[in-house]
Amino acid sequence: MASRKEGTGSAATSSSSTTDTTGKGKGGSGDSAVKQVQIDGLVVLKIIKHYQEEGQGTEVVQGVLLGLVVEDRLEITNCFPFPHHTEDDADFDEVQYQMEMMRSLRHVNIDHLHVGWYQSTYYGSFITRALLDSQFSYQHAIEESVVLIYDPIKTAQGSLSLKAYRLTPKLMEVCKEKDFSPEALKKANITFEHMFEEVLIVIKNSHLINVLMWELEKKSAVADKHELLSLASSNHLGKNLQLLMDRVDEMSQDIIKYNTYMRNTSNMQRQSRGEPPLPEEDLSKLFKPPQPPARMDSLLIAGQINTYCRNIKEFTAQNLGKLFMAQALQEYNN
């Protein structure tokens, strides 16, 4: 958990030290190349701006992160968005665009090393096959690259939500093999908890900016600060539940599929042993050679469910706190 809360007012005090101590990133990620991600304030603002300009609803925005690797720290100093795709510019060459962009940035003396990418998310539903695949290709090409996930909805509620993820080495192995059969995954001993590792994020600003922030905080109205204290929860919670439910459904289906597969295989074993087959639910399936279902999807779904649960837990905990606070205030006023 390296999410860093940064209200409009709360600012990083010093440029070199981490202000965030709530992170409890996985200790086991020692063998990974990057232990910390240091993001420039500029990058954060650019990402937020990008989403606000182009993203809405379930639509996600993506972009490229630029920076440098310093020891075990990844410094992200700049970024640029991928252009918004429409149907009619199908022949748009993304790679070409990226190269162009990077060349141009180099001309103005900005870091031009590709160190990852960012993506916005809708209620935390980012653990998908697409993300896995692209992050795999990034990490395969540039070992240190990370993906930044920006959750605009949470941010709008008052707490900046920005997280950096990397695929675990184990998952990298599995992806390299491209074998997602149950056996392979079992051998790799991979579970949904060990798919992504979160990397600590530090937001670093220059002193000048910090000073400006202090100034701004003084000027800002009180109401701006208290978005945090909104008691309306049902909408957000409902959405989360809905999404969670959808995933659970998917999971269920996946399990049923797997179950059928298991039944078929065990039936075949039984047949080879001359025992009567188990009661078959659907006879037609018996004659197809059982195809081991790809388990990666269910892993991803499990991961997603996990994220949702965490989100809900976090959200409800905060909300409960707020409610108690409101109650106390009420009593105090009376």
């Binding site: 049902s234 409902g238 539940l241 439910m245 659970v248 269920s252 399990i255 039944r263 065990s266 074993q269």
Partner: protein, 913 residues
């Protein structure tokens, strides 16, 4: 000579046989025309007259014709084959030839054939093109004909010198033949006959070409007479003893077998044309019958021709002096019947003949037995009149048929000593021995059943919107009367099985008719003295309900075939339903268990079943039992093929999917128009029932994610209504129902009512019910009640409490009804509320879960199923690896339900050791 040919030919001809058959077939295809060209045949019949000589010669000419045809199509193989046959036939005719001299036509063919072969032989190019069989046959035939012709050299030369001779002579001989079309044919024969009489030797070659041309002109002719050819070749083969030849002739012979009757019939048809001659043929025929045993039809046939002039003189069925006895009449009858069902039989003539025979029989006082027997056959012939199953009887035929059956019934009723039965053998029939009871083979029931089917067919094929249909429908009374008579007759004499069958017929004519008299009687209970005479008369007829009851009960008790009983039950239910005896109808339907196994029945029964279900549904609706109505109609309506399922028309959509044959079959299954159930009424009843069920249900389960549809059809209509970009006032019945549903959703019963019951809907639907007003009152009440329910479901969350009196005013229902409806809703836990008796108010409870709670509940449920599935996976793992599969399975089952976790643990403990 024939010997010479038999020795010379066999190998080649047999080898070429297979190829041959194919070639000859197209020629054979022309036989179909045969029946139309009656005059030709007749001529043939007449021309070959007098003696064995002519018979033989005709054989020869026929063969020759075949050869000429084969020559025309350059089919040498065929030529060879026929040539061999010709040789044989000639050998057979040897004795006559010896007497009369070599026939000229025979010489001519020999000469022509030789010329033709030479020509072919010279034509090197053509020869190359020829197929192998033909080429081989050509060389063989050429050699043979050379050898053969040596014997006839003098004749041939003679012929060639003098090819066209006194045709007139022959024409004179055949003066009876008046038809011009046959002149050429005549000529040919004439020439040959004349020529052979002359027996001249020496003839110049080269004229043959001319003949060939001539033959081409005769094309039509020769085709027409091919029949005869086959006839003759056939008889040739049957005459000859050599097996090999018979094999060769197999195809023509079989054709002969088929064709032989045709020609007879053609003859007969021609006969009919000349009415005065009508009877002589039978004379001939009877003669022939005698001769048939001699296995020599051909010969006999010619002799009949010989008898021609004689026949002319006596225009009677029987020879002049013949004493009309039973035996003779029966024999005649059999003769006529033998032609029955054969191709080319002129069926109209046959019927006429039979009628004539009846007349003769009655004139000669042969007794009723014979008359009955012949009548049976007349009716049968009437049915046979249309060879095609799809076509229907012409009105005059139909009338004739009805009359005939009526007459037959008259006789049967008048003569109780006549026994009629299918199982009486022809031999054991007793037609005239008056001392003993008369026994006649035949089944009156079958005839009547067939008559009924014909009636259905007529109705099916008449445009239902024409006056004609009405006219036909008037016959229904007659049909019913006949069935009733048969029923009475069989009740006395028939077996139970027969009675069942005739009862079923009766039922089938009764079940769909609404008994207005009984209905009237029910409405106006007997007032004793005030009964007018008319009423009396009306009441004389048996109440159709009683009748149905009686007939059906008999069938239930006595029938052994499932089909009749099934039909009877269905008709009975239908009848009950039609007369609004819902509970009887429903009980009968449930007790019969027809719903379980109706899909195994044949399509007509299934159609009847569908009709019954629909009628049942409509009946339920009339009684105000919307739910039952909906259930009964669901199957029919949800398929969207109600029209097809009820046998009331074919769907255009599936027209491409079926072929002609299927379509015909389906067309035959159609229910006649006067039995139709109004489809719009059906749909309206269904939709209104669905509306009354669905709208409150939808309101009650607004937020329930697992809400299912009661009626897909209804939802479909709603969606269609929603999709309309511009919503005008409703036009069609469906639009009315959709508009009414929308009003009901709001609890606006008045608007709903005005949409469901108005002028348009009355005209379209409601007035079609026998008791329209009762139905309408019921409907209004239903709408009020369901609207009230909908209103409470939809708006209960807005109220803290609501006075029942207000509700009663709003929905114009009396207080106790409102009270009972609300109580019911509370009991069923549809409405979370309680009644406050003193103030007459409904107090709402807030127990509905909030959106979040709902979601959470759903999630919990889903997780439950997820866990369950997961455990099953786990089971597999255990089973596969642990070897305790079976025990665990049991354990799992035992602990299913709320004890699942315990079960889960138990499994673990089991696997532990």
């Amino acid at each position: 000579m024939s010997r010479f040919f038999t020795t010379g030919s066999d190998s080649e001809s047999e080898s070429s046989l297979s190829g041959e058959e194919l070639v000859t077939k197209p020629v054979g295809g022309n036989y179909g025309k045969q029946a139309l060209l009656l005059s030709e045949d007749e001529e043939d019949t007449k021309r070959v007259v007098r003696s064995a000589k002519d018979k033989r010669f005709e054989e020869l000419t026929n063969l020759i014709r075949t050869i000429r045809n084969a020559m025309k199509i350059r089919d040498v193989t065929k030529c060879l084959e026929e040539f061999e046959l010709l040789g044989k036939a000639y050998g057979k005719a040897k004795s006559i030839v010896d007497k009369e001299g070599v026939p000229r036509f025979y010489i001519r063919i020999l000469a022509d054939l030789e010329d033709y072969l030479n020509e072919l032989w010279e034509d090197k190019e053509g020869k190359k093109k020829m197929n192998k069989n033909n080429a081989k046959a050509l060389s063989t035939l050429r050699q043979k004909i050379r050898k053969y012709n040596r014997d006839f050299e003098s004749h041939i030369t003679n012929y060639k010198q003098n090819p066209e001779q006194s045709a007139d002579e022959d024409a004179e001989k055949n003066e009876e033949d008046s038809e011009g079309s046959s002149d050429e044919d005549e000529d040919e024969d004439g020439i040959s006959a004349a020529a052979f009489l002359k027996k001249k030797s020496e003839a110049p070659s080269g004229d043959s070409r001319k003949f060939l041309k001539k033959l081409e002109d005769e094309d039509e002719d020769s085709e027409d007479s091919e029949d005869d050819e086959d006839w003759d070749t056939g008889s040739t083969s049957s005459d000859s003893d050599s097996e090999e030849e018979e094999g060769k002739q197999a195809a023509p012979a079989s054709r002969f077998l088929k064709k032989a009757p045709t020609t007879e019939e053609d003859k007969k048809a021609a006969e009919k044309k000349r009415e005065d001659k009508a009877k002589k043929k039978h004379d001939r025929k009877s003669k022939r019958l005698d001769e048939e045993e001699e296995d020599n039809e051909g010969g006999e046939w010619e002799r009949v021709r010989g008898g021609m002039p004689l026949v002319k003189e006596k225009p009677k069925m029987f020879a002049k002096g013949t004493e009309i006895t039973h035996a003779v009449v029966i024999k005649k009858l059999n003769e006529i019947l033998q032609a029955r069902g054969k191709k080319g039989t002129d069926r109209a003539a046959q019927i006429e003949l039979l009628q004539l025979l009846v007349q003769i029989a009655s004139e000669n006082n042969l007794g009723e037995g014979v008359t009955v027997k012949i009548k049976f056959n007349i009716i049968a012939s009437l049915y046979d009149y249309n060879p095609n199953l799809a076509t229907y009887m012409k009105p005059e035929m139909w009338q004739k048929c009805l009359d005939c059956i009526n007459e037959l019934m008259d006789i049967l009723f008048a003569n109780p000593n006549i026994f009629v039965g299918e199982n009486i053998l022809e031999e054991s029939e007793n037609l005239h021995n008056v001392d003993q009871p008369l026994r006649i083979r035949g089944c009156i029931l079958t005839l009547v059943e067939r008559m009924d089917e014909e009636f259905t067919k007529i109705m099916q094929n008449t445009d239902p919107h024409s006056q004609e249909y009405v006219e036909h429908l008037k016959d229904e009374a007659q049909v019913c009367a006949i069935i009733e008579r048969v029923q009475r007759y069989l009740e006395e004499k028939g077996t139970t099985e027969e009675i069942c069958r005739v009862y079923l017929r009766r039922i089938l004519h009764t079940y769909y008719k609404f008994d207005y008299k009984a209905h009237q009687r029910q409405l106006t209970p007997p007032e004793g003295s005030s009964k007018s005479e008319q009423d009396q008369a009306e009441n004389e007829g048996e109440d159709s309900a009683v009748l149905m009851e009686r007939l059906c009960k008999y069938i239930y008790a006595k029938d052994r075939t499932d089909r009749i009983r099934t039909c009877a039950i269905l008709c009975h239910i239908y009848h009950h339903a039609l007369h609004s005896r819902w509970y009887q109808a429903r009980d009968l339907m449930l007790m019969s268990h027809l719903q379980d196994n109706i899909q195994h029945a044949d399509p007509p029964v299934q159609i009847l079943y569908n009709r019954t279900m629909v009628q049942l549904g409509i009946c339920a609706f009339r009684q105000g039992l919307t739910k039952d109505a909906h259930n009964a109609l669901l199957d029919i309506q949800s398929s969207g093929r109600a029209k097809e399922l009820l046998g009331q028309g074919l769907l255009l959509r599936s027209l491409q999917e079926r072929n002609q044959e299927q379509e015909k079959v389906e067309r035959r299954r159609q229910v006649p128009f006067h039995l139709h159930i109004n489809l719009e009424l059906l749909e309206c009843v269904y939709l209104v029932s669905a509306m009354l069920l669905e709208i409150p249900y939808m309101a009650a389960h607004e937020s329930d994610a697992r809400r299912r549809m009661i009626s897909k059809q209804f939802h479909h209509q709603l969606r269609v209504g929603e999709r309309q970009p511009l919503l005008g006032p409703p036009e069609s019945m469906r639009e009315h129902v959709v508009a009414a549903s929308k009003a009901m959703k709001m609890g606006d019963w008045k608007t709903c009512h005005s949409f469901i019951i108005n002028e348009k809907m009355n005209g379209k639907v409601w007035d079609l019910f026998p008791e329209a007003d009762k139905v309408r009152t019921m409907l209004v009440r239903k709408i009020q009640e369901e609207s009230l329910r909908t209103y409470l479901f939809t708006y209960s969350s807005v109220y803290d409490s609501i006075s029942m009196e207000t509700l009663s005013d709003m929905f114009e229902l009396d207080l106790p009804t409102v009270h009972s409806i609300i109580s019911k809703m509370i009991i069923n836990e549809e409405l979370m509320a309680s009644l406050d008796q003193p103030t007459q108010t409904v107090v709402m409870h807030r127990t509905e879960p909030t959106a979040q709670q709902n979601l959470a509940l759903q999630l919990a449920e889903k997780l439950g199923s997820l866990v369950e599935n997961n455990e099953r996976v786990f089971d597999h793992k255990q089973g596969t690896y642990g070897g305790y599969f079976r025990d665990q399975k049991d354990g799992y089952r035992k602990n299913e339900g709320y004890m699942r976790r315990g079960g889960y643990r138990q499994q673990q403990s089991q696997t532990a050791y």
